[in-house]
Symmetry: C2
Subunit: 110 residues, 2 copies
DNA sequence: GTAACCGTTGACTGTTTACAGCAAGTATCG
DNA sequence: CGATACTTGCTGTAAACAGTCAACGGTTAC
């Protein structure tokens, strides 16, 4: 569960039998940049741009939201809904884990 | 309810009987920048930095989260919780308004 | 009319970001 | 050994970002 963004990219890349150069070409960035991403050694920030993450997810057949979350970015769908119903999400955000679980349960049933 | 960020700042400023120059001094930016903010005429983006928004809220005795939301930014508290429990928030985000209201009601009761 | 005040706007500056690309090194593997 | 893949420090760059500054226009008030 403590998987890092960089590791996950590497994992997905290998699952596709790609080298960093191959992946770099597919998403149109240099292979050295891919290396830095996988090792989380970028000059600033720890993660690449949201745009690049989208391309990575697409090329690697991965779940965009999973990658975005690993990169500490809020998935678009959630972001959109928070903007539309801030009242609701503010309350949800104030709940502790137990209460959140209660709510999820109620969703599955009722 | 379709109030814009800029309008809201102007509203709050006037409620405090401040001119743009006065507000500018209080939050330590030039008054011309305040003007652009109120008219949403910034060179890029439509809103100032999160940091400045915080200072504005503070000086204007306004709710930070309200201003952040108007500026299309996710309040920190919500952001933090989404990262901690993405599973839950993903599900909430998929709900339509009615279902969200149901959940809120359940929160108020039991 | 002109002074004093208030707000608007365009051009400009400094910083940060998101990469590129080289060079020199390490690791691995046949 | 040599080929191939990956790592990493450095320098460079273009675009985005956050704000400043000078100049200007509109009121009111004397």
């Amino acid at each position: 569960m403590t998987i890092r963004f960089g590791e996950r990219i590497r994992e997905l890349r290998k699952a596709k039998n790609l080298g960093q150069r191959g992946l770099g070409e597919l998403v149109e960035v240099s292979f050295t940049y891919i290396s830095k991403i996988e090792n989380e050694k970028l000059d600033f920030g720890d993660y690449p741009s949201e745009e690049l993450i989208q391309r990575l997810a697409s090329v690697l057949d991965a779940d965009v939201d999973e990658l975005l979350l690993l990169a500490q970015k809020i998935p678009e769908q959630i972001r959109k809904r928070v903007m539309e119903r801030p009242d609701a999400f503010r309350k949800f955000a104030d709940l502790d884990d137990d209460k959140l679980d209660d709510l999820l349960e109620k969703l599955d049933n009722g």
